[in-house]
């Protein structure tokens, strides 16, 4: 019953997203939602390692950049012209991201403490940025690379990108949903709560984390490639950008880390907000200040994110109701906000 209702809501959301660009067809309107959808994919994918297991990667922008450079380099070397074909090449971005994720995950996950993991993942991002700057022969350094552009014109230009992002977002959310409901996903959530205990009941924690890390790189690689194609030109500092990681973590966190709905909600709140902020404040500086302040306020007021906060409220309300109704005492979980609100 509950599952059916969720399915229905999801269906309505997807239909709305499909209809949207036909109703609001201006370039501005489609661009904003395009970015939001791209970040739905990115944040949901990051959530598989960062949210489910609690291993906060601050270097997943490396996969974004790898995808971006993949499409630029492949299009250039194989002489692929702009057009629908390049979206297939974008898939290669995911493959390349996964290939790099293997050694990267292997090293970062050996460290055993989450703090060192976080720092090494940050290092990855900067290393790739340095490589992109320095490997002049391959990446053209700070001059960046162009991606061949299609000859779609006017407001239609955005449409193929919009739908590519929509498909990627839907598939990534389905992937996360699938994992969340698999035994593998249960293992990941167990690792987040207590890694040693998980090992003690037979979860191969190393394999679980490693697989989650690699899987989560793939949609981000593809997203990076789509982004690169859309923006027509890439530079080391725009695709290997720490702000991307910050936005990912913040989206996931804002909605609710480790929940399925959280990253979606977070991306849809944060992306438009960020774009409007940059658009209206103009002066570089104020956007950073406002963004930072916003972010602090949210964290301090809602330390577990939107979705878990709501879930916890309704759950408590329901328990209270049940207690009032029932004659025999319903076991009331003692109110412990830290422990409450399991992932949904």
């Amino acid at each position: 019953m509950k599952r059916n209702r969720m399915g229905l809501i999801a269906l309505i959301a997807v239909v709305a997203a499909v209809v949207y660009p036909f109703v609001f067809s201006s370039t501005e309107a489609t661009t904003i939602v395009f970015y939001a959808l791209l970040y739905v994919a990115i944040a949901s994918s990051w959530n598989i390692i960062g949210g489910f297991t609690g291993y906060i990667s601050l270097g997943h922008a490396a996969f974004f950049g790898l995808g971006a450079y993949t499409i630029a380099l492949v299009a250039d070397h194989l002489g692929i012209p702009g057009g629908y074909g390049l979206f297939l090449v974008a898939l290669l971005g995911g493959v390349v991201a996964a290939l790099f994720a293997v050694p990267m995950g292997f090293i970062a996950l050996r460290l055993r403490t989450i703090h060192s993991f976080v720092i090494v993942t940050i290092a990855y991002l900067f290393m790739f940025q340095l490589l992109a700057f320095n490997l002049l022969g391959v990446t053209n350094g700070s001059s960046g690379l162009a991606i061949p552009q299609p000859n779609w014109s006017g407001a239609f230009f955005n449409m193929p990108f919009y739908f590519a992002a929509l498909v990627l977002a839907v598939l990534t959310v389905l992937l996360a949903y699938w994992i969340r409901n698999s035994r593998f996903g249960l293992g990941l959530l167990a690792i987040r709560d207590d890694e040693d205990k998980a090992a003690g009941v037979g979860v191969d924690t190393w394999k679980h984390k490693f697989a989650a890390y690699i899987i989560s790189a793939v949609p981000i690689g593809i997203a990076g490639a789509i982004y690169a194609y859309f923006s027509s030109y890439i530079y080391p500092q725009t695709v290997f950008d720490p702000m991307i990681d910050l936005t990912i973590v913040l989206s996931a966190f804002l909605g609710g880390m480790g929940t399925l709905l959280g990253p979606i909600l977070g991306a849809f709140i944060l992306q438009p907000a960020q774009q409007l902020l940059t658009f209206y404040t103009g002066a570089a500086g104020w956007d950073l200040v406002l963004f930072g302040v916003l972010f602090l306020v949210v964290i301090l007021l809602m330390p577990s994110g939107i979705v878990p906060t709501i879930v916890e409220r309704t759950r408590r309300a329901r328990v209270r109701e049940a207690v009032q109704k029932a004659d025999e005492t319903v076991p009331t979980p003692d109110a412990n906000p830290a422990a409450g609100g399991g992932p949904r």
Partner: protein
């Protein structure tokens, strides 16, 4: 009767402290064996060594003749050796039912990715929750259980993998007398179904009540073993407790 678990000359140092100083004993198949000793005598460290959480500096641990001291905790669990922790440990943000189901997630990632938990496993998990009398809490986040309920949940969780040998670290620690009696009852019942137990416990009444054999540790070594009565009368045991 043969030994199912063999601990042979195990040593473990933490910096300057020798937590295990050549520990040797065996657990008979089908028995309830208790491991007692003063605080800090190395009981928990021994559990950690046997279950792969701590690698011994020296010595061997074998389960049914197979050496396991170099295996990881999940591998050891797969071989039928389960444990609980002295500080109760549960997955606090998962529901009670999910806690039990975690233990059904086998090591293979690919299989785990493709498989959802089957209804039969859910039924089995519910049976186990029924067995420890917390089935009505199945959908509650485990973090909100009471301390005693968490201990019961831990036992249910560990049982789902059908272990042949169970190591319990202070199952009666910090729980009320009624709950203690209940836990003792469950241990006896499971033992009758063929599970071997090694139990660390400070509650002497509890220990003497359920054990077939008692092993006494002091300063990282086994100083006495025998039936509950023999151990009770052993002057070395009293000395270890008083001198500690």
């Amino acid at each position: 009767m043969s030994a199912v678990l063999n601990v042979q000359g195990v040593r473990k140092r933490f910096g300057g402290l020798e937590a295990l100083a050549g520990c040797t004993f065996a657990v008979e198949e089908g028995s309830i064996t208790s491991l007692i000793g003063p605080n800090g005598s190395g009981k928990t460290t021994l559990f950690n060594t046997v279950t792969g959480f701590v690698t011994p500096d020296e010595g061997e641990v074998s389960l049914r003749g197979e050496q396991i001291q170099a295996l990881s905790p999940d591998r050891i669990y797969d071989r039928g050796l389960g444990r609980t922790f002295q500080q109760v440990r549960i997955f606090s943000r998962l529901t009670v039912l999910e806690n039990v189901l975690v233990a059904t997630s086998r090591s293979s990632v690919i299989k785990g990715l493709l498989a959802r938990t089957r209804q039969s496993e859910r039924d089995r998990a519910m049976d186990l929750l029924n067995f420890v009398n917390i089935a009505r809490l199945a959908d509650v986040p485990a973090g909100s259980l009471s301390f005693g309920q968490k201990k019961l949940l831990e036992i249910a969780t560990i049982l789902v993998g059908e272990p042949k040998v169970l190591l319990l670290d202070e199952p009666a620690g910090g729980v009320n007398p009624t709950m203690t009696a209940q836990i003792g009852e469950k241990i006896r019942e499971l033992n009758q179904r063929g599970i071997t137990f090694l139990v660390v416990e400070h509650n002497m009444e509890f220990v003497m009540g359920i054990s077939h054999r008692v092993v006494v540790m002091a300063r990282g070594k086994v100083i006495a073993e025998g039936s509950p009565d023999e151990v009770r009368r052993d002057p070395k045991v009293l000395e270890a407790y008083l001198g500690a």
